[in-house]
């Protein structure tokens, strides 16, 4: 299985405007590639997870796979600015990943050919006190 969550997380940590919005956690930012997120993590936070979908295709001399991932951004829903903040963060993620220079992503044992990002869409959250946005990233990977 090709796991891209670590390289996505590492790249997210380099997006300056995005990391400015996301809160700190331990010695890093509150960007997780697992759920449930830690109990003591603060909002705004982000979660990177593989999505269902994708598939295999043939290239001429190798295999190509489409691998979708979701990047979620969560925030408290206490002030109007909270929603604007995660909209901004989600848009930054989409803009940074869409047709990006893939050499900036860590890759080993596979080669990322291209990345496309969807527009942010409202994502489910645990309660009404939290708001969320999600972005679908679609990776074309040669292996």
């Amino acid at each position: 299985m090709i796991d891209l969550s670590v390289s996505i997380r590492k790249y997210l940590l380099t997006i300056t405007g995005f990391t400015d919005i996301i809160s700190d956690y331990n010695t890093s930012k509150a960007i997780f590639n697992f759920r449930p997120v830690p109990e003591d993590a603060q909002y705004p936070m982000s979660v990177v997870q593989p999505a269902s979908g994708g598939g295999d295709n043939d290239f001429l001399n190798c295999f190509k796979r489409s691998i979708p991932y979701h990047v979620f951004v969560y925030n408290k829903n206490s002030e109007p600015y909270d929603l604007i903040k995660i909209d901004e963060a989600a848009n930054l993620v989409a803009r940074s990943f869409h047709r990006m220079d893939v050499t900036k992503l860590e890759q080993s044992g596979f080669k990322i050919v291209s990345v496309t990002a969807s527009n942010p869409f409202p994502a489910p959250a645990d309660d009404n006190e939290t708001v969320a946005r999600a972005i679908t990233l679609n990776f074309e990977v040669k292996y």
């Binding site: 759920r35 979660v47 997870q49 269902s52 979701h70 959250a125």
Partner: protein, 132 residues
């Protein structure tokens, strides 16, 4: 030179394509039911009165408990479009997960499992018409 349009054949192909869409939608819907009802779950076990319910673990398809989710998962075929919808409040939370709950992808996985078969299913009735 006059070109004669075979209206009957065109109409038959249209209706065969619609049959193909119906079959393809059925296939994805049945796969959804299979994932929920006939795949093993390994989550927590709850006891409710005399009944024991085993929940799904993260990333498994959701487990059927009260039947609400499956009752509200519906298929619909329109003109050359097949649709499977999940019309219940927590559908998106199950499919995509939340910050505190890992996803239980079901509809997406059903479509993914059937993706390779769908072109064949849709084209089969059309091929039968053309063979005649």
């Amino acid at each position: 030179m006059a070109v004669k349009w075979n209206t009957n054949l065109v109409n038959s192909i249209h209706s065969a394509a619609q049959d193909g869409i119906v079959d393809a939608t059925d296939a994805v819907y049945e796969e959804t039911l299979r994932l929920v009802l006939n795949t093993p779950k390994s989550g927590r076990i709850y006891k409710r009165g005399n009944r024991v319910h085993q929940a799904s673990a993260p990333n498994e398809s959701f487990a059927n408990d009260t039947g609400n989710a499956l009752r509200n998962t519906k298929k619909k075929e329109m003109k050359l479009v097949g649709e499977i919808s999940a019309d219940y409040e927590y559908a998106l939370a199950l499919e995509l997960g939340t910050q505190k709950m890992a996803p239980r992808p079901t509809l997406g996985r059903a479509l993914e499992n059937k993706t390779k078969e769908l072109p064949k299913i849709v084209s089969k009735p059309i091929q039968e018409i053309l063979k005649r």
